[in-house]
């Protein structure tokens, strides 16, 4: 059986078709969010939100048990959406009040999220093993509903992320200046926080917290090495996100590996390769960057 036949089979499997659609959508949309997060140096926000989302999952389970539902997973994703939006907005408020710097606020979210999750799961009568499905996802078991949810999510992310790019760029580049231009800084901040929260919470069950937060950031890290402008960084990151997602998923069809982990390792491997190879190509490294201007002091040459 040659490779082409195998790939043909892969494309013919409905389960793989759905998985591929989800992988491409998340691969393209997540880096759009990620570019803004890296821009404002909040690269770990996705992961922080992921931890809070786990608390939300546990809350969903608790609520499910309390309501006497037979399938207690029903309220898990809604719980995650609510908790992660609340967490993301909270971090925005803490940051805006200036009481704590962005990275410390992130740390609080991180630890609070994971501790809350473990506590609540205990109360709900479960174990942390139940959380594994949400940490690592199960892209190999994507339902049609999951596909539609992801389509809507990707459309919203791309719509806002690309449509409001100039305004979001101004905000993430220099918040103080954005405020002085009259841009609705608070509304844009909240919009960004809510979009980040939605990205993580909606896609966590399918691709897992690990994968979605990595797909927000790692493609951007690779693109940064190649691009000079914000716009081309974002575009390159979207392409890289889609390519590593599809490649990783295809590999796991051929070999029994964790899809999420494979995609992340591929992306990071790409980063390593590009950062080593990049200096060997491209523009001459030692172009004189100095402008021809007069010195501010008089220098007698040859003394």
């Amino acid at each position: 059986m040659d490779l082409l036949t195998t790939l043909g089979e892969l494309l013919a499997t409905p389960l793989m078709q759905r998985a591929l659609v989800v992988a491409v959508l998340v691969g393209v949309a997540a880096p759009v969010m990620g570019t803004y997060l890296v821009q404002r140096r909040l690269a770990l926000l996705g992961d922080g939100i992921g931890h809070v989302a786990l608390t939300g999952v546990a809350m969903g389970w608790l609520a499910g048990s309390a309501a006497g539902l037979t399938d207690r997973d029903v309220l898990a994703v809604p719980g995650a959406v609510v908790a992660s939006i609340a967490g993301a907005v909270l971090i925005e408020v803490v940051r805006e009040r200036g009481k704590t710097s962005g990275d410390v606020a992130l740390a609080l979210l991180f630890y609070g999220g994971i501790a809350g999750g473990v506590l609540l799961i205990g109360l709900a009568g479960g174990t942390t093993a139940n959380l594994n499905g949400y940490l690592f996802g199960s892209i190999a078991a994507v339902s049609t509903l999951d596909v539609w949810l992801t389509v809507v999510l990707a459309a919203v992310l791309l719509g806002f992320g690309l449509g409001l790019r100039p305004a979001l760029f101004a905000l993430c580049h220099d918040e103080e200046f954005a405020r002085a231009t009259g841009l609705p800084v608070r509304a844009l901040n909240i919009l960004l926080a809510v979009m980040a929260a939605l990205t993580v919470s909606v896609s966590m069950r399918v691709v897992g917290v690990l994968l979605v937060s990595a797909l927000m950031i790692v493609p951007v890290a690779v693109a940064q090495l190649l691009a000079r402008s914000f716009r081309s960084t974002m575009t390159t990151a979207m392409v890289i996100g889609a390519v590593v997602s599809v490649t990783g998923l295809t590999i796991t069809y051929l070999h029994p590996l964790s899809p999420g982990a494979t995609i992340v390792v591929l992306a990071i491997g790409l980063y390593a390769v590009v950062s080593i190879v990049r200096p060997l190509f491209g523009r001459p490294a030692h172009r004189d960057p100095h402008l021809d201007v007069d010195d501010d002091v008089e220098v007698r040459e040859g003394v």
Binding site: Q39, R41, A167, F177, A178, Q224, D296
Partner: protein, 278 residues
């Protein structure tokens, strides 16, 4: 009175109130950050076409004052109006596009690479404009031309020197073609030629009727242009009028800036660098 009529009258009164309103009016402006009163009861009006320098020692509240004027730092008490609109209560109606602000900054970079053109273009946005049109591109190039960086428009600002980044930030304010230009220490850390170029740019803007408020440590290259100086000390205005002469000794070419706190005990109170005649 019926609805539309009333609305018309309200609009007319608002227009009458804001027409001819000064670019900047601060009344009893007080800003408390944490527990420290950074600004205490500032009254300041800047009229159309004026070029005003804001002077004072480090920590006297200069930056906080300009930040509160452009709505970046919240006002604790009193009020600030730009062109007759309160920056705190009427944020949406303030004509932000008429105001250009150059923050005091050592860098124009952020986490992701961005070209000078992209950074300058972001200055075209305001409360109503979230996107940059085709004409914006040409305007951004024009603004970069004014600060002498047009040929580097497509380079990433990450590779720019400190002075070049400062000029990018100035272009970002100029691209708005502001009627009121607020600059926070624009001369810090840039070479003499750039200072002179900036002075020429500001002179041209002044001649075209732009109102300029500039925070400075010393008048320097902008000296000939400044017709009014406001001096702050401990968050209060201690001088508002023609440029004061430098404090005794500072105008002496042989004067060396030796500060007693170097190695010695810290002085309790600094003598101001400017003599003020009240």
């Amino acid at each position: 009175m019926s609805g539309p009529d009333r609305a018309g009258v309200v609009a007319a009164t608002t227009a009458a109130r804001t027409e001819g309103a000064p670019p900047v009016r601060a009344e009893d402006l007080t800003v408390i950050l944490g527990t420290s009163a950074v600004l205490r009861g500032i009254d300041l009006t800047i009229r159309d076409g004026e070029t005003v320098a804001l002077l004072g020692a480090n920590g006297s509240g200069k930056s906080t004052l300009v930040k509160s004027l452009v709505g970046v730092v919240p006002v604790t008490r009193g009020r600030v109006q730009l062109y007759g609109h309160d920056v705190t209560t009427q944020t949406r109606t303030v004509p932000w596009s008429r105001v250009g602000y150059v923050p005091q900054r050592v860098t124009a970079t952020a986490g992701v690479p961005a070209t000078a053109l992209e950074v300058v273009s972001s200055g075209l946005l305001d409360g109503r404009r979230f996107r940059i049109g085709r004409a914006g591109h040409a305007r951004a190039l024009d603004a970069l031309e004014q600060v002498g960086l047009a040929d580097r428009a497509r380079d990433s600002v990450q590779v720019f020197s400190g002075g070049q980044q400062q000029r990018v930030l100035i272009a970002r304010a100029l691209v708005r073609r502001p009627d009121l230009l607020v600059l926070d220490e624009p001369l810090a850390g840039i070479d003499r030629e750039s200072k002179e170029a900036l002075a020429r740019t500001i002179t041209a803007l002044h001649d075209a009727g732009t109102t300029v408020l500039v925070v400075l440590h010393e008048l320097g290259e902008l000296g000939p242009l400044v017709e009014r100086c406001v001096v702050l000390r401990h968050g209060r205005v201690i001088h508002d009028g023609p440029p004061p002469r430098p404090a005794a000794g500072h105008d002496d070419p042989a004067h060396e800036h030796e500060h007693p706190h170097e190695g010695g005990t810290a002085p309790v109170h600094h003598a101001p660098d400017l003599t003020v005649e009240l």
